[in-house]
Structures are given as C-alpha cells and as structure tokens.
Amino acid sequence: MAFNSFHFLVYFPIVLGCYHALPHRFRWMLLLAASLYFYMAWRAAYVVLLLGAILVSYLAGIWIEEAEAPALKRRHLAFGLTVLLGNLFVFKYFNFFNDSVRAVVELMGLHYGLGALKLLLPIGISFYTFQKASYLIDIYRGKQKAERHLGIFALYSSFFPQLVAGPIERGPHLLPQFREEHRFDYAQVASGLRLMAWGFFKKTVVADRLAPFVNNVYSNPTEQVGTSLLLATLFFAFQVYCDFSGYSDIAVGCARTIGFRLVDNFRQPYFSSSIQEFWKRWHISLSSWLTDYVYTPFTRARWLKMHWYPKLLLSLLLTFLVSGLWHGANWTFVVWGALHGSYLIGALLLQKQRLRAVKALGLDRQPRLLKWINIASTFALVCIAYIFFRANTLSDAFYVLAHGFASIPQLRFGSISQFDHYAHNEFVLACLGIGVVMLNDYVTLNDFKLVKDLWQKPWVRRSFDFAITAGIALFGAFYGGKQTFIYFEF
C-alpha cells in the first residue's frame, strides 16, 4: 500500500482508532495484522518472502544466542546472513550481475548462456533485509538479546510505518517499544498527524510536481537543451529530497500517532557545509547502518595488511560503493556511490590545501560568507552526483554532465519558458513549494527563538495545520499537470 493512496486514507484511521481502543496486550496482534495487510496490499504473493525472512531471522537469532562456541555463533550468523542477503541478491542483483558477466564474457568472444531472471522486485526488500541483518549482527556482538516472542519479532520485522522505505530501525531502539504500554496522548497524536501532513505536502505538492518534468528530460537527455538538463538535475535534487524525506516524515508521524518513536532520517541536509556533514544529515538511518556494519568492521579487518590511513580511505570508498549498489542494481548507482566516496577522500587528503586557499582568499575572516560558499559548493557536488543517480545509463549521465555544464553561461531567467511540456503554472508552483520546504528547513536548523515562541501559541499551530491541508488539497499534483484551459475556463 502506498502512503499517498486512497486505500491508506481509509486504512490508517481505522488502524489508529482500533489501536487506541484496544487494551495493550492485544495491540501487537492488531499491529502485526495491519502490517501484513499493508504489505500484502502491494502484491499479496510477496508476503511469503517477507515471512520467510522473518522466520529465518527469528531462528538464526536464537541459535546465535544459544550457541556457546564463537565458531558456532559465527556459523549461525553466516547462515542467517547468507539467506537474507542471498534472497536480496537473487531478486535485486542477479540480473545486473549476470548482465555484467555476460558483457565481459562476450567481450572475450565467448558465448554466455545464462538468461535473465524474470522476477519482480519485492517492495521494501532492501530495507527489511538490512534491518534483519543488523538484528542478527547485534545479537552476535552481544548488543541485543534474541527476541523469543515470534509475534513481537514478526511485528518488529514488518512494522508498517517503516517497512517499505525506512527509517531502518535497530533492534535495541524499536523492539523494546512494542512491550511498552502507550497511553493515548492527544498532543502526541496531533503532532504525529501534523508531521504526516507535512510529509504529504512535500511529496504531493513538490516531489510529484517536479517528477514529470524530470522524467521527461532524463528519459531522453540527448534530445534536450543544455539548460533543460541543468534545471532537471536541480529539480531532481529537490524532488528526491521531498519525496524521500516526505515519506520518512509520514513514517515517523504515523508511528508517533500510535506512540512509537522512530529515528530521524533527515536533518536539513541541503544546509550542510561539507559532504561529511551531508552524510550525517541525509538518510541518517542508512548512513549509520553502513558505518556500523560495513565501514567499522572493514577498518578493523586484521587480514588487510596496510597502514591504517589508506585502509580507512579504502573502507570509505568501499562503504560508498555498497551504498550506491544498495540504492539500485545499475552501474550508475555504483558511480554515484564512488563519487561520494571520492568527495570524502578528496576532502580528507586536500584539507591542508583547502585551509591555505581559504586563508589566501581572506575567507577565514568572513565566517558567514565562507559558510554559505561551503553550503553552495556542497550542494553543487551533491547535484553532480545526482546526475548519475538519476540517469538511466552511464552514457546518459555523461551526456547530461557535459552538456549541462556547458550550458551554464547560457542560463537566463527566461530559460524555463522553452519547456512547453511543462506549464508555466507548474513551474511557479514547484518553485514556491521548494521555497516553503527550504524555509522550513532553515528555520528548523537555526531554531530561532521567535519561531519557537510563536509555535507555542495554539492558533499558530492550527493555522499551520490548515494551511498544509489546504495546500495539499489545492496544490497536490494528483492529476499529471497536463490540463490547460480549453473552452471552459474554470
């Protein structure tokens, strides 16, 4: 079930109402049923995979904990991880891997007989696989006790607010919450609903409005003007942010209405002053997952014999390659990951030079200017990487990169009018929407006292609620945006 669907609009109030009406000891049953229903609403058959993953993780977790010898513990962990990651590999990466191998084999003039698998990608598989993997690893490391109650464990593994698109919740953070009794708290429910509304606003008013334009341009970039490519990339940066953070907001808000705390996934990432900072503010649950389960273990790998400094750099690169691949089974994602890894490595290696340049330009005496230059350049680097993230093929990406850059001198205020497949209204609305979202981020980031005081007043909160709801109803991009006024001017 998608969050922005009529189905959810009916489903959620029912679940919310039943949850608060039921006594605590039955609530987990309701939530489990609701979560499985939520998942089956996508495609019923794939719930089998999810249940399989749940069962395997449940058993593996108990076996790991009960095993005495470290070697046995490791074997159980390997078993669990192999099943989980193997499942992920087959559904998401087999064809990609197969095609790449085929390309190499055929390059050598040999015949490659293995065909592609025709499998549909089960929704949320990347998220729930990583979540269960972290659970098993945490048990192995002694940070988590194996959950013996199958029902509670199944609920943790399929909890509907975060099942499909995160945040990726760790066992120690989420599991205990299912045993806490959540008392009905009006302010909490209101706050959760408000967060959900804000998420819907970001998604329907901004992300869904930008999508057709971005899709149009990126589906055949070679037929576009340079300035279109540039603008589409910029738009994509806001589309993906509003889409993803909107979705996370809905997830966190939804969980909050039933008394659960999920981790923050985004913290005003486009105001980061460095790529380092960016990754502490963007998709935080994934970054921390990768840090704990990929980066750190790799930096401590005894078998890799090199000086710790290059080892850390290599670990960084590897972690970002994994991140890239996690996002999608395509070389474009791998390059995206590699780019970010290179940005970080470059930043580390060129630190002294950077400081010297800053001093030479006198920018160290202008901290505010320096900060904004940093924010702008970080955003630019992120956008460049997005070209690879969004493009369908590597050659498309390089085309966009080359022609987008080349067109910078031709950028004019009226450049947008050449896009006649994107009505003027839509463009204005999209920009206004982006402005509203960025303003909100800026205000949240700086925690202005004036805003804090205003927010205490109920009428301010109520106006905000009304404005957001009206905004969604009046400006939500539900209709494809193709309509122009013909004969009937409404």
Binding site: Q276, K280, R300, R302, W308, K311, L312, L348, Q351
Partner: protein
C-alpha cells in the same frame, strides 16, 4: 612538555580550538569536532607530532586524551 600537554596541543590545532577548550579528559563524546573524520585527521597529526606509526587497534583505542596518552606511553617515543 608532558605527553599529555603535547596531545592536547595537537587536538587543539587539528580541531581549530583554543588550548583552554581541550581539557585533560576531553574525548570523542565531549568534543563535537572529534567525529570519525576528525579522528582520522587527529591520528595523522599524532603520528606526525610524535613520529610514530600507529596500528589499527591503537587507532580504535584512542578515543580520549587519557587513552591517547596511554597508547603513546606504551610506544618508544622520540
């Protein structure tokens, strides 16, 4: 200068802080700039300052001023 003082100086320099802001018990938890990236830069600076070569386990251990001092004391310093 004692090892501890030299360590605190290096920390102050790497994280662009005032020497007074780096207490004898400063750690990754108390100094905001001492994150994983900061740590890398710090370790490089420590290696340069004390002319030593650190290994993996030592990098992982050095999470606070006292711990850094402990690690360095165990090495033959110039």
């Amino acid at each position: 200068m004692s090892i501890e003082e030299r360590v605190r100086n290096v920390i102050a320099q790497v994280f662009s802080l005032d020497k007074a802001e780096v207490s004898p018990t400063a750690s990754q938890e108390t100094l905001e700039k001492w994150d994983s990236f900061g740590h890398m830069n710090l370790c490089v600076a420590i290696e340069e300052e004390f002319r030593v070569r650190l290994d993996d386990t030592q990098i992982v251990e050095m999470t606070s001023v006292p711990k850094v001092v402990q690690v360095l004391s165990g090495l033959a310093l110039k």
